[in-house]
C-alpha cells in the first residue's frame, strides 16, 4: 500500500491478508484484506480498539494463530524475504527470536516462573546464536541486563522477585537479545502503572534506536503512539482505515477517517477543559458478519447509502491514506485501491 518512492527495503510486507477463526458455531472474520509495509528501523503504531484484529495480525506474522481454529485464508506475509504463510514449522522456529520477536501484554505470564531470568535470556542465545561460547553468552546476558537497568548480579533470581515493570523490561531484553529485524510489541505497557510505563517506553525507545529494530507497536493509547512511533495505521474491525506518518495522523487537517476523528475525540485529555467527552456511539460490528461496504458505516455520522453497499477505496494524499468515500469524490487524488474479495 505504500508508494515505491519511500525507502525500499521493507522488513515486513503484508498483502491482502485475511484471517478467520473457525469454531463449531461460527466463523469470525478477524482480519479482512489487510496490506501493510514496515521498513527497516521504522516504528509503526497499530491503533484500534479491542476486537479490531491487532493481535490477530501480530500472531499471523509470528504464525502463532491458535491451531485448528485460526486460519490465514488469503494473502501473503513476507518477512525478510521469506513467505511466512508457506513456511514450515522448522523454518518458523528459526525465524522467531532471530528475525522477529514478540512482547506480550502481560509480563507476569510471559516468563517461566521456575527458571532464573539469566537463564531465560541465555536460552534464546543458545538456540539462535549457536556459535557463541558459554562465556560469551553470559557476557551478552549481562550486557542486556545492564541496558534495561537491572543489575547483572540479579540474573540468578526468579521472575517473582521482580516487580511488574522490571519483568516487562526482562521480557524486552529477551525479545531483543538476538537483535531481531522486527519486534512486535502487543500492548507492552498496558498492565503497568503510568510512571513505570514511562520508564519502560523510555528503555524501549533507546534500545530500538541502538539495535535499529523495526517495531510494530500495538496499542489503543494515542498518547503512546505520539511519543514512540514514526508511522501509524488505524485499524477498525479487521481493516486499516487510515495510514500515514505520525504528523499526518495528528494533523489538524480534516483529511481523516471519521473513526480516527472519533477516537481522538473520545480520549480524555488532561490539556482540555471540556466537561464532557464525545464518545463514538454504538459498538464495533459483529465480526461474524461479512460486510459489503464500509465497516464503520453504522456508527458514522457521514454515512450514505454508498457506504453501506460499496467498499471505500484508499485515498492517498502524499503518503497519507484514508479509506473513506468522503474524500474519494473531490477528484484530487486518484485512489490506489486494492479491492478485496467480497
Amino acid at each position: 500500500m505504500d508508494e515505491e518512492k519511500t525507502i525500499a527495503n521493507p522488513v515486513l510486507e503484508v498483502s491482502d491478508l485475511e484471517v478467520v477463526y473457525r469454531t463449531d458455531e461460527e466463523t469470525v472474520y478477524a482480519v479482512n484484506g489487510l496490506s501493510l509495509k514496515v521498513n527497516a528501523g521504522e516504528t509503526l503504531g497499530l491503533v484500534g480498539e479491542t476486537g479490531a484484529g491487532k493481535t490477530t495480525l501480530a500472531l499471523s506474522i509470528m504464525k502463532l494463530l491458535p491451531e485448528r481454529i485460526g486460519f490465514i485464508e488469503n494473502g501473503t506475509i513476507i518477512l525478510d524475504g521469506i513467505n511466512v504463510t508457506k513456511a514450515s514449522p522448522e523454518a518458523m522456529r528459526d525465524l522467531r527470536g532471530e528475525v522477529v520477536s514478540m512482547i506480550f501484554q502481560d509480563p507476569m505470564t510471559s516468563l517461566n516462573p521456575v527458571v532464573t531470568i539469566g537463564e531465560q535470556i541465555a536460552e534464546i542465545l543458545e538456540l539462535h546464536k549457536t556459535t557463541l561460547s558459554k562465556k560469551e553468552r553470559e557476557e551478552r546476558v549481562d550486557r542486556m541486563l545492564e541496558m534495561i537497568g537491572i543489575s547483572p548480579e540479579r540474573k540468578g533470581e526468579y521472575p517473582h522477585q521482580f516487580s511488574g515493570g522490571m519483568k516487562q523490561r526482562i521480557v524486552i531484553a529477551m525479545a531483543l537479545a538476538c537483535e531481531p529485524l522486527l519486534l512486535l510489541a502487543d500492548e507492552p505497557t498496558t498492565a503497568l502503572d503510568v510512571t513505570i510505563q514511562a520508564q519502560v517506553l523510555n528503555i524501549m525507545n533507546s534500545l530500538k534506536e541502538r539495535f535499529k529494530t523495526a517495531t510494530i507497536f500495538i496499542t489503543h493509547d494515542l498518547g503512546i503512539v505520539a511519543q514512540t512511533c514514526d508511522k501509524v495505521a488505524v485499524m477498525y474491525s479487521g481493516e486499516i482505515v487510515e495510514y500515514g506518518d505520525l504528523r499526518h495522523i495528528f494533523s489538524k487537517d480534516p483529511f481523516h477517517h471519521p473513526y480516527t476523528v472519533g477516537l481522538f475525540n473520545s480520549i480524555p485529555n488532561i490539556k482540555s477543559d471540556a466537561p464532557r467527552l464525545s464518545p463514538i456511539n454504538g459498538m464495533m460490528p459483529d465480526p461474524t458478519i461479512r460486510f459489503k461496504g464500509c465497516r464503520f458505516a453504522e456508527r458514522c455520522a457521514h454515512c450514505t447509502e454508498r457506504c453501506e453497499n460499496e467498499k471505500p477505496p484508499f485515498v492517498d494524499r502524499d503518503g497519507h491514506q484514508v479509506r473513506c468515500f468522503l474524500f474519494a469524490e473531490d477528484g484530487e487524488a486518484s485512489s490506489k485501491t486494492e479491492v478485496q474479495a467480497q
Partner: protein, 319 residues
C-alpha cells in the same frame, strides 16, 4: 456550611502480614459535599481501593471514623448498617468478574432490590428493572441475556444499574472504566456524569488515570503508599500541581500530541517502596528528585497552601 455527606477522620487500615503491618490506608481525612465528586488518584498499591472499601464498611477500619451525613457509621450495628447500605453503593472495576455468569440481566439488576427488600411485588420489580435498563442505556431486548453475551461496555452498564437499583445517594466508583476501550470509556463516563446531575449523586471516583479524573471530579486527592500527598480542587491541581509525586504522575502521561513541548520528559526513577512498616518521613522521598534530610525522620503533615489546596511536602512548608 451544611454537613458534608461523607467525612472521614484519621481513617486507618493496616493489614497484618508475616513481615509486619501493611499500611494500606494511613491517616486519611476527607470531606465530600453532597452532589460532588472526589477523585482519588494513585498507582497500584497506594491504597485507593482499600480506602473505598473501608468507607463502605466492606472491610473493617483499624482506627479512625467515617461519618455519613454527620453520623459515625463505624459504630453502627449490623441492622443499622444494612439500612445504610441502601444509601451507599459501589461500582467495581472489572465488569467481567463482578457479575455472576449464571444470572440473566434482569436477575442481576433485580438482585440488590431483592436483598434490600425495596420492592414489594414481582410486577413492581419488573417495572423497576425496565426503568433502570432505560436509565443506563441498555436495550430492552437484553432482559434475558447473560453476561457472557455482552461486551465490556454493556456489562459495565449493568454494574451501574445494579448500583442505582436501591436509589443510593453515594456511590464509590472503583476504576469503572479502566477495563474498557476508549470510545466505550467515554460513553460510561458521560453516563455517570448525567446520572449524577439527574439524581444529585455523590461519587468517589477511584482511578490511576489523571486524565479520566479531570473530567468527572470536583476535587482530587493524590495518594501515595496509603497517605494523601496532595488534595486540591480539580482545576487548581492541574494548573498548579505542587507535590513532586503529582508532578511526576502528570509528566508520565503520554500526551496524544506531537508538539515538541508535549514530549515525555523528566521520567521519575525507581518504583513504589514497600508499604510494610514504612519508616517515618515522606514515603516518596526515595524517588523524589528534591529529597533532602528534612524529608526523613518525621512524618510530613498536610498543610493548606490555599483554601482549596493542601500538600504534604517540606518544599512548601514556609509558604
Amino acid at each position: 456550611m451544611s454537613t458534608p455527606l461523607i467525612e472521614t477522620k484519621h481513617l486507618k487500615k493496616y493489614f497484618d502480614t508475616p513481615r509486619g503491618k501493611l499500611h494500606a490506608v494511613d491517616d486519611i481525612s476527607i470531606t465530600i459535599e453532597r452532589g460532588k465528586t472526589l477523585g482519588i488518584v494513585g498507582e497500584s498499591g497506594c491504597g485507593k481501593t482499600t480506602l473505598g472499601r473501608v468507607l463502605l464498611r466492606l472491610i473493617p477500619a483499624t482506627s479512625g471514623q467515617v461519618f455519613y451525613d454527620g453520623e459515625d457509621i463505624l459504630s453502627y450495628n449490623r441492622h443499622q448498617m444494612n439500612e445504610m447500605r441502601k444509601k451507599m453503593q459501589i461500582i467495581f472495576q472489572d465488569p467481567f468478574s463482578s457479575l455472576n455468569p449464571r444470572l440473566s440481566v434482569t436477575n442481576l439488576i433485580a438482585e440488590p432490590m431483592k436483598v434490600c427488600k425495596t420492592v414489594r411485588t414481582r410486577a413492581e420489580l419488573q417495572e423497576r428493572v425496565k426503568e433502570l435498563m432505560k436509565t443506563v442505556g441498555l436495550a430492552e431486548r437484553l432482559v434475558n441475556a447473560y453476561p457472557h453475551e455482552l461486551d465490556g461496555g454493556r456489562r459495565q452498564r449493568i454494574g451501574v444499574a445494579r448500583a442505582l437499583a436501591v436509589n443510593p445517594e453515594f456511590i464509590v466508583c472503583d476504576e469503572p472504566v479502566s477495563a474498557l476501550d476508549v470510545s466505550i470509556q467515554a460513553q460510561i463516563l458521560n453516563l455517570l456524569m448525567d446520572l449524577q446531575e439527574q439524581m444529585n449523586l455523590t461519587y468517589i471516583f477511584i482511578t490511576h488515570d489523571l486524565s479520566v479524573v479531570k473530567h468527572i471530579s470536583d476535587n482530587i486527592m493524590v495518594m501515595y503508599l496509603g497517605q494523601c500527598v496532595e488534595y486540591a480542587e480539580t482545576n487548581e491541581l492541574f494548573k498548579n500541581p505542587m507535590h513532586p509525586y503529582t508532578k511526576a504522575l502528570l509528566s508520565a502521561i503520554p500526551l496524544p500530541s506531537i508538539a515538541p513541548e508535549d514530549r515525555m520528559k523528566d521520567i521519575i526513577k525507581g518504583e513504589i517502596t514497600s508499604p510494610i512498616n514504612p519508616p517515618a518521613g515522606c514515603r516518596f522521598a526515595a524517588r523524589c528528585p528534591y529529597a533532602s534530610a528534612k524529608c526523613t525522620g518525621q512524618d510530613i503533615p498536610l498543610h493548606g497552601i490555599a483554601d482549596n489546596h493542601k500538600v504534604a511536602c517540606v518544599l512548601y512548608e514556609n509558604e
